[in-house]
């Protein structure tokens, strides 16, 4: 199995991207976007994680099995968030039984 060797410039680009995204996080923290605050912060964090996983951890050049395993991690995180939100977002909906 051949092993992908990334040039140093790739790691420099990854580093600069992460720094830029961190600076963006700090910058947007000074503004109030209301309900979008968390969405923006999590979006930036997700973008950073994607860069690390794809380029720094070489998943982009890995076998389909490795991609499947990495993808499964993301899917499982989505399960956790989705079903937890399924609780929080429906707590205030009260069910009233129809009159008999």
């Amino acid at each position: 199995m051949s092993v992908h060797v990334s040039p140093t410039s790739t790691y420099v680009k990854v580093f600069l991207t992460l720094i830029l995204l961190t600076a963006t996080t700090v910058w947007v923290a000074f503004y109030d976007f209301g309900i979008l605050n968390n969405v923006i912060a999590l979006g930036i964090a997700f973008a950073k994680a994607t860069v690390v996983v794809l380029f720094f951890m070489h998943v982009k050049w890995s076998s389909p099995l490795i991609k499947l395993i990495a993808g499964a991690g993301v899917v499982w995180l989505v399960i956790l968030i989705l079903f937890t939100l399924g609780d929080y977002l429906t707590r205030t909906i009260h069910y009233t039984a129809p009159p008999i």
């Binding site: 399960i79 956790l80 079903f83 937890t84 399924g86 609780d87 929080y88 977002l89 069910y95």
Partner: protein, 541 residues
């Protein structure tokens, strides 16, 4: 079980490769690491058992007169933490799994032998932290570390205990990772996926849970530590947190963790039932897919622990329905074991006695799980002894019975020695009787409304509690017997034949005990799995 002929026993095997402490502590041989795990978890089982004895002793009388309530809280917490994180979770995978997976797939070792040893050291370090919490005075939060009690109010030693669980989680992740890679990459030529023993399938499914679930509980514990030390508002409502969030995160791991405990047991039972029925497992592919289905579905049901936690009733309904679905692949397992025995040449050797016990007890544990997954019933019996009885039927009646079945089945492979047939069968019987005497009364107590985690109770519950405590004594004897005769067998037992059960499977193709590199020559697999046709007769004692 047959004894060895003069030529059957290998003078050179993994046990003879050095007898110094250093040769054991620095080994990378998966078999020796399995034995190290076996010794370590036995110590934790003994400690956890002592706390159980204390609990049952206290509950023999209704007054709560043996220990202070605070001490009682610490006893059941330490019992839970030790038994779950330091015995049940590593029990079958880290001992039998470590020992057998390379042997069953025709490999010389696991994929990452050094990582394997590292995982044992991490486990021991985690255990030391928990023991530190124990000798410092213990923890009183319950094994679930529920917030805000564990973060804001508890004055016991939460941090070292939680740190111990956090550290030992990495051991679990590394073992799972090692098994996944080993099963993918190191199978012998010709050993395709549908020729793998179900023991391998079940460990593959277990490893997926370990790798996907354990990081979540690790992060959750870190958050508890942050809140406890830095007073960050994560789970505390007064600063914007939510205690129910802890329960979501905790059970996202801890419900699948139940399957980490039971799936390897199902793998053991499949091997034992096939061998002692002299038949291929009925519906082999369904059995393989059933373990994967349980592993995946197990991640969608955690909310059934939270029906009375202010969780939304709509989420509760979804979790309740999904919980019912787990019963389907679980039932497939039970029906197919039974169907395998049907028309088989069933023999009643010790491992089979444990396996039959497992099937019955697991069925009761599983069906009461369906009852508890029903919201209406759960609200009535939540946090009562009904729940305690249910999960002990799964974890003790299921996982530990399977562990004992596996230890007795593969003991000739591990030690190369025989054990006394009479005593081992007697122990199996005592365990079965003792177990039911301990835990069946708890179903009745729970249904009548006795809550768990209290050191005193109304007098009308005393008869059933005394029965339960008496059963615990019987159970203790049942567990002590194998420790005695297996230790004796290891040092003084008669040597056994290479394949005393006449079983099929690659692990029986090599000598007992196996050489350090398992096989003189890597085998090539041409036949089918569980190929008991034409029937191989067990060698007679």
């Amino acid at each position: 079980m047959s004894e060895a002929t003069s030529t059957g026993y290998p003078e050179e095997n993994y046990l003879t490769q050095g007898s110094t402490l250093k040769s054991w502590l620095l080994t990378t041989d998966h078999k020796r690491i399995g034995v190290l795990y076996l010794l370590t978890i036995s110590v934790f089982f003994l400690l956890g058992g002592l706390f159980a004895a204390g609990i049952r002793l206290e509950l023999a009388t209704p007054q709560g007169d043996l220990v202070q309530p605070e001490t009682y809280n610490r006893m059941f917490t330490m019992h839970g933490i030790l038994m779950i994180f330091f015995f049940l979770i590593p029990s079958i995978p880290a001992t039998l799994g470590n020992f057998l997976i390379p042997l069953q797939i025709g490999a010389k070792d696991v994929a990452f032998p050094r990582l394997n040893l590292a995982s044992w050291y991490i486990f021991v370090i985690g255990g030391c932290f928990t023991l530190w919490a124990l000798v410092s005075g213990g923890v009183d939060t319950g094994w679930t570390f529920y917030t805000p009690f564990s973060t804001l109010f508890s004055n016991s030693h939460v941090l070292p205990a939680a740190l111990g669980v956090f550290i030992t989680g990495f051991s679990s992740i590394l073992t799972g990772l090692n098994f996944i890679v080993t099963i993918h990459r190191m199978r012998a030529p010709g050993l395709t996926w549908f020729k793998l023993p179900l023991f391998i399938w079940s460990h593959y499914a277990t490893s997926l849970i370990q790798v996907l679930g354990t990081p979540v509980v690790a992060i959750t514990i870190v958050l508890v530590a942050f809140e406890r030390v830095f007073h960050l508002g994560i789970f505390d409502p007064s600063v914007g947190g939510d205690p129910v969030l802890f329960q979501h995160l905790f059970w996202f791991y801890s419900h699948p963790a139940v399957y980490i405990m039971i799936l390897p047991g199902m793998g053991v039972i499949s091997e034992v039932v096939a061998t002692f029925s002299r038949k291929r497992i009925f519906g082999y592919k369904f059995m393989a897919f059933a373990v994967l289905a349980i592993a995946v579905l197990g991640f969608f049901v955690w909310g059934h622990h939270m029906f009375v936690s202010t969780q939304s009733v709509y989420a509760g309904t979804v979790f309740s329905v999904l919980t019912m679905l787990v019963a389907i692949p679980s039932a497939v397992k039970v029906f197919n074991w039974t169907a395998t025995m049907y028309n088989g040449a069933v023999s009643w050797d010790t491992p089979m006695l444990y396996a039959i016990g497992f099937i019955g007890l697991f069925t009761i544990g599983g069906l009461t799980g369906v009852m508890l997954g029903t919201m209406g019933i759960d609200i009535h019996v939540h946090d009562t002894y009904f729940v305690v009885a249910h999960f002990h039927y799964v974890m003790v009646g299921g996982a530990i019975m399977a562990f004992l079945a596996g230890i007795h089945y593969w003991w000739p492979k591990i030690a190369g020695k025989t054990y006394p047939v009479f005593w081992s069968k007697l122990a199996a019987l005592i365990v079965f009787i003792g177990f039911n005497l301990t835990f069946f009364p708890q179903f009745l107590l729970g249904y009548m409304g006795m809550p768990r985690r209290y050191h005193a109770y109304p007098e009308e519950f005393q008869v059933l509690n005394v029965l339960s405590s008496a059963g615990a004594t019987v159970l203790g004897v049942g567990y002590l017997l194998p420790v005695i005769y297996l230790t004796y067998s290891f040092f003084f037992g008669a040597r056994c034949a290479q394949n005393p059960w006449g079983a099929v499977g690659l692990e029986w193709e090599t000598t007992s005990p196996p050489p350090t590199l398992n096989f003189d020559e890597i085998p090539t697999v041409t036949g089918e799995v569980y190929d008991y046709s034409p029937k191989k007769e067990a060698q007679v004692v």
